[in-house]
Symmetry: C2
Subunit: 330 residues, 2 copies
């Protein structure tokens, strides 16, 4: 057992709901503990059904699969979003310790060359580490800002793969950002959406997102260029509740048709390359999770655009804008 | 355009329903016509949303994804099952011509050595060819039977990947079966469930399913043998309405627990190997579509059993029984 679960808050939450059966939803990295968590819940007298699907976040609510067989859903490792569910949902925090604190300290002198004011951003699993990082950076003479995002973001400083508002809100006050967490997509999004320098960590040390951002933007403009000859567009919308941006999709459909091209709306659960092979469209626009078009584009044969990239194709806009999910998209 | 669609019956059906928007559900081989069918529907004034998911049959009803954005579902290439939907469903027949009639005629003398009474089985897309095949075989002196299946089977002679009742119902009357259609799984199921010789066709000619059946049964007993040391079982149940065999799954869970082992129920939409990698179970039992455990078993690291195979593991039964879906399973 690598991770120590504190299940007491969950047990208390379930007692308050007076439920008998629990649908257990885990991100991929925690599935290895599914049988352990299930066992602990069964000891407390609950029936448990585990979700075997991939779970991509609080946007991904499998209530329609579970509401006839469970009284509630329990989601580990994500923070709530303004997404409704047919049955109650309990979110269980999984707090991880920022594993790169020593690397931060070892590289503090090079960071000092980047400026005096710094913004901190993080993902939900590391957001509790921000005060500790802030305190350390202040002790080194930095002025530190942690931004408040919009209503889709639960914690100060937290960014989602589809929401960088906590970074944008403080962007004009800071010389650069530090990303407290793991993975490249979130700091990339901060770098693109704020146009500020962003630093993140890996096993080797600290790195600026600039090079990766340049590489990704080249890839994106490559896809945009390839899509320019398209006559038939497939607009992919997700069946996942928190990604089902139907209003946005219909708006884009009209925009494509007004430009003299053909557009069809394609609704699917998980978006994967093999589901698109059969279709005869020239390009696809992903109105689901904004990560898909950027993170996974190389796995697809046809150009895969974000809604913002479609605007570049159709209107010839030149500025690259990161796709973020807005409540008005639904 | 390889296939000629007669869309008039669909247009009439939609007019009767007085709907405005249509959710279009196509099996993989027809997705290439999605934009054509969508265009024809749009010309009639309908809004169209195409399902991008794989569709595995009439058991696979995506009404929860579509009922907030479409007035009805249109499913191409499958026959209705007793599965309820939140919004009306129209099934559009896709009739294919049995492509091996010449092969049948060329091999008639070798078939005559197999017996005088023959049962005909088919899949829904070829079932309209059965009278023609029957007439030909009768002209060659055979006595021909076409069985009526149970209430899950729409047409006489039709078999599903999860229902071979139209074959079993005439099994004691026939010397052998001829499968009028394409693919190996359906005739394999007939061969295992009836224990009669079954003949099917491929580009090279006519072949008996016996060798393939022996190969598959060896594989299945291999999986059963590997599963015998399992202490923790994951019981996979499908979120697809016509595969959500929850009553069966709960019964098997109790049976495993009564045998002194651990069992957890895992609910997922499509069952794929990557969704199971993260879990720490010794064996999985697939209470979803019966084909998964048999057709796809080699793609999985852990043993994947059908409900009937689990009984062999737990009870030491020796006879192999094909998994079929029963209305009592739900």
């Amino acid at each position: 057992m690598k991770y120590n679960f504190d299940l007491e808050p969950l047990f208390n939450g379930l007692k308050e709901l007076s439920v008998k059966s629990v649908g257990l939803v885990l991100p991929e990295g925690l599935k290895i503990y599914a049988d352990y968590i299930s066992d602990e819940l069964k000891k407390q007298g609950y029936e448990v059904i585990i979700s075997g699907n991939f779970n991509y976040g609080a946007c991904d609510v499998p209530d329609f699969d579970f509401d006839d067989v469970c009284d509630c859903l329990v989601n580990f490792g994500h923070a709530p979003l303004p997404v409704e569910s047919n049955i109650p949902m309990i979110f269980v925090e999984v707090d991880l310790v920022f594993p790169y604190m020593d690397l931060l300290k070892n590289n503090i002198s090079s960071l000092k060359k980047e400026g005096k004011t710094v913004g901190l951003v993080s993902t939900v699993n590391y957001v509790k580490e921000l005060p500790k990082v802030k305190e350390y950076l202040e002790s080194e003479g930095f002025e530190v800002f942690i931004g408040k995002g919009n209503n889709r973001v639960a914690c100060a400083g937290q960014v989602l793969g589809c929401d960088f508002s906590s970074a944008s809100s403080i962007s004009d006050k800071v010389d650069f950002f530090i990303f407290v967490g793991e993975g490249r997509f979130h700091p990339l999004g901060v770098a693109i959406s704020t146009e500020k320098k962003v630093f993140a960590f890996d096993c080797d040390g600290i790195y600026s997102l600039n090079d990766y951002k340049d590489k990704i933007l080249k890839e994106r403009f490559g896809a945009i260029f390839r899509a320019k000859d398209s006559k038939k567009f497939g607009l992919i919308v997700s069946a996942k509740k928190g990604q089902k941006r139907m209003a946005l999709t219909k708006k884009l459909k009209k925009k494509i048709e007004d430009s003299g091209f053909i557009a069809d709306i394609i609704l699917m659960d998980e978006v994967t390359p093999d589901k698109l092979y059969g279709f005869d469209y020239d390009s696809f626009v992903v109105c689901a999770c904004p990560r898909i078009g950027i993170d996974d584009a190389k796995r697809y044969k046809k150009p895969l655009l974000t809604p913002k990239e479609l605007e570049i194709v159709l209107d010839g806009k030149e500025d690259y804008v990161m796709d973020e999910i807005d409540q008005g998209d639904f």
